[in-house]
Symmetry: C2
Subunit: 508 residues, 2 copies
């Protein structure tokens, strides 16, 4: 629906929120009319999101956007008609993250079953802390989380949904510390008389390091272990650094292995790291926020995630590779009972044990959040729709499209430079504009290629036709990182991407 | 729509998720048909939620619910028709938290404008870490959070939305520690050589104590200051305990004052606590997750929140008293720049500074979450609909209804015992069944009254007509705590509540 149509004279020109439910019990028809108009606007957006001829975004600089939009908080409430115009305008300038030409984030795509689930979640508007007010959703969490633990390779354990992988990793850190130093919860650091140290690769997600800051170790005590040229932690270096810290009298206790790094999609070798953890009695956490989805693929699961069942805890974000709507992150523990023992504050005034029903279903005492958003229904409904086989097909398809992209890049060595063979759907490459095509590849050319990334990205955004991310890493300046994690993408979209970058960038 | 109607023969009996967008670009009509059927189901739920003759819930024990529902994760995907049945069945057994007779949580009600906002949020499905992919929503955050800081009484500062009040309180703790001990972030506790101590009242939300566990102080170093009979921290005790810890060589650094306690809705005296914080150079945090909404009421703001502008940080949850959909929690800081300095991990690979646009709008580096759910649109749209005046009317109305309930309780001294005069919308009381009506009030009767709370609550749930929460506290056994925070509630609903408890409980 066009904004002009929304501005036409209707009853809603003089209606306000006080004219609809719940303010006026007789106003169901008016309420329905308002909500149906909102749905019309959302359906238009869904249509445009799936239209390859429509733009991915209509870019405006912040200063211009502020002028274009009316974001003001008014003293007096606006009409329902104005709210519809607000919805429409908001979506006009929103980036269509479900568009087949949006390759920019680890979370791409708009799974419409999962979206329908999120609409229902909003309407049910409940909190996940007790069975009392979320009975069906609590049971769904149990079923889905158990299924995920089975896919990890555990027939026991405990899990929880968290607001993003960073908080999931924090849960792992807290459970590890609590398991190994039970007096820490009450008495803090003073109870152990030594410096705790954690280990992770220099390619890990920054939230692992953040745990050290948040939890009082200090980031100096999150040891960044060097990685090899494929982005995988070097196990011998890990052992060396553990011994080095032990020699200083420090107390190593936690190792994070990443299954699918953010930038290049690397998988740390779990079996080698698990051996080291066993040898030194360290907690093994696997941050599979990104790579976890591949557990669903018999073809691609090994060797990437081989040995994951040896971990003590695993982070896995369905909102990434599985395409579940944002946010949906899970953290799994091999040992049952740890979550509650670690996190409960005995808030008897909130989580009573003298209730009508079996209170072991209540989750409030297991989490650091107290109230939690219902992040399960959208995943449960999506899994019902796809089945486990459907998710496997989805994973295999994303990997095949990635292989297609790599083949196409190799067929165009004058225009594209593949930085490394991907293990996942992250394709890291440089685009080569005309002027560098005859230059030998080396630091001088890499410097130029790095400099053009922001410029070419800027052109994509201003054209509005394509979005691909870029970033530097420790070894090289800026390079593009393409992500195929949307079910909307086809081979033709990959071809479009490569042609469009060339069209926009050849003269740089 | 009845489940029987959903089972009738339609095209959807043989359609799967692969038959709708984004899998099949030609399938917009089928996609629309599916989504419209979901909306029909949601509209039915909204209608029933607002129907006083419909039940609040259809209670089933977990074991029975598991038998009634088909929650299984299938290998092969189910039909679209089955998904519709799933949606309908889920809502059949969900507790209607927006029903006018649901008085159970601090978050009650179903604001339909906010809900429409959440539907749009789901459809836009974006992450809040950068302006690049959430331009309009990021600007909305700026506008709304600035407005909220103005209401606190600050014309500067910084704020962020967090997944619930517990995480908001954690942000406050982290910022305080960072501001006062900047070396803590890198070097941890070893850099300060002393035991940090925090203070809060024994009535505070348990998440404050949880900060001490999470961040490595240990809960023994979260000092619970006694409260008076009205649930307010005793300032002289606070000072005494600060001095006691200082005498031990500990380092007091953080005081939490609660504006609206969870159970009885008490407000700590901010001016007195602020004086103590000033005297001993301690960070003052106000947990106004619950009471913050009253900042919008000129009538009820004072004296409850008088002095809030003297705080260093304030937690305020719009998803509670303001009725915004779950979750919507905010944390505000008087000093700008602290959030980023405290939480950034210099993840240059994610939050580049060489972008097309002014990157000061990116928020990813300020938070411990990395990705964040879009929690702003539902609040922004709701505020546009109500206006600041509409929110003020809403607050005043909730408080007037509370006063009405208190008057009604006092008119029925044989049936109800008011435990204390409420400062907020929490009404704490006992229901008096026939057999205790002639007993003198004292510990013996209180014991009986406490014992019947779970039984009467069980009867409410099994009748499905009403939900009111109960809990014990430090001073007394179980008692009921009624919350009026839903815009759906009227005087007649309060009368119903009191009559229904009597009907269900008189023979206990």
């Amino acid at each position: 629906m066009q904004i002009e149509d929304l501005k036409k004279k209707t009853k809603m020109m003089s209606s306000h929120q006080t004219n609809i439910l719940p303010h006026n019990a007789e106003s169901y028809p008016a309420t329905k009319e308002f909500l149906m108009k909102v749905v019309d606007i959302l359906l238009d957006y869904i249509k445009a999101t799936n239209d390859r001829n429509a733009k991915v975004l209509d870019f405006r600089h912040p200063s211009e956007m502020i002028r274009l939009l009316d974001l003001e908080i008014p003293d007096t409430g606006l009409t329902l008609q104005q709210l519809l115009i607000d919805c429409s305008t908001t979506l006009k300038y929103q980036v269509r993250t479900g568009h087949p030409h949006f390759f920019n984030q680890l979370s791409c795509g708009l799974d419409l079953v999962s979206m329908a689930g999120e609409w229902l979640t909003a309407t049910a508007n409940t909190n996940m802390f007790t069975y009392e007010i979320a009975p069906v959703f609590i049971l769904m969490e149990n079923v889905v989380l158990q299924k995920m633990r089975e896919l990890i390779g555990w027939n026991c354990g405990d899990s929880i949904l968290a607001p993003g992988g960073s908080i999931s990793n924090l849960y792992a850190f807290l459970a590890a510390r609590h398991k190994m130093f039970p007096s820490y919860k009450e008495r803090g650091l003073s109870s152990i008389g030594g410096q705790l140290v954690m280990f992770t690769s220099d390619q890990c997600h920054y939230s692992v390091k953040s745990c050290a800051a948040v939890c009082g170790l200090g980031t100096d005590n999150c040891v960044m272990v060097p990685s090899d040229e494929r982005g995988r932690i070097i196990p011998s270096k890990l052992e060396e650094l553990i011994l080095e810290r032990k020699a200083k009298g420090h107390i190593p206790f936690f190792v994070n292995a990443t299954a699918g790094t953010t930038v290049i999609g690397a998988f740390d070798s779990i079996p080698e790291i698990a051996d080291i953890c066993k040898k030194y009695k360290l907690w093994l956490h696997i941050d599979a926020a990104w790579g976890g989805g591949l557990l669903l693929s018999r073809k691609y699961r090994h060797p990437r995630l081989t040995g994951i069942e040896r971990a003590d805890s695993v982070t896995w974000n369905p909102h990434k590779l599985m395409g579940t709507l944002l946010q949906c992150s899970t953290i799994h523990f091999k040992q049952d009972g740890l979550l509650i023992s670690c996190n409960q504050m005995s808030a008897e005034y909130l989580f009573m044990t003298d209730k009508l029903y079996d209170v072991q279903y209540d989750t409030g005492d297991k989490v650091i959040q107290c109230g939690r958003h219902n992040d399960i229904f959208k995943l449960w409904l999506q899994w019902r729709a796809k089945g486990t086989e459907g998710f496997e097909k989805h994973m295999d398809r994303l990997m095949e499209l990635t292989e297609y992209m790599v083949r196409r890049i190799k067929q165009m060595p004058d225009r594209y430079y593949l930085i490394l063979e991907p293990e996942m759907v992250n394709v890291c490459f440089w685009y080569l504009p005309t002027r560098v095509r005859n230059m030998p590849h080396g630091p001088e050319r890499e410097k130029i290629l790095g400099e053009i990334c922001p410029i070419l990205k800027g052109r994509m955004m201003q054209a509005g036709t394509l979005m691909v991310g870029y970033q530097p890493d420790d070894r090289r300046p800026n390079f593009f990182r393409n992500i195929i994690s949307s079910a909307a993408v086809t081979e033709a979209d990959v071809d479009f991407l490569l042609a469009e970058m060339d069209r926009l960038g050849h003269d740089l």
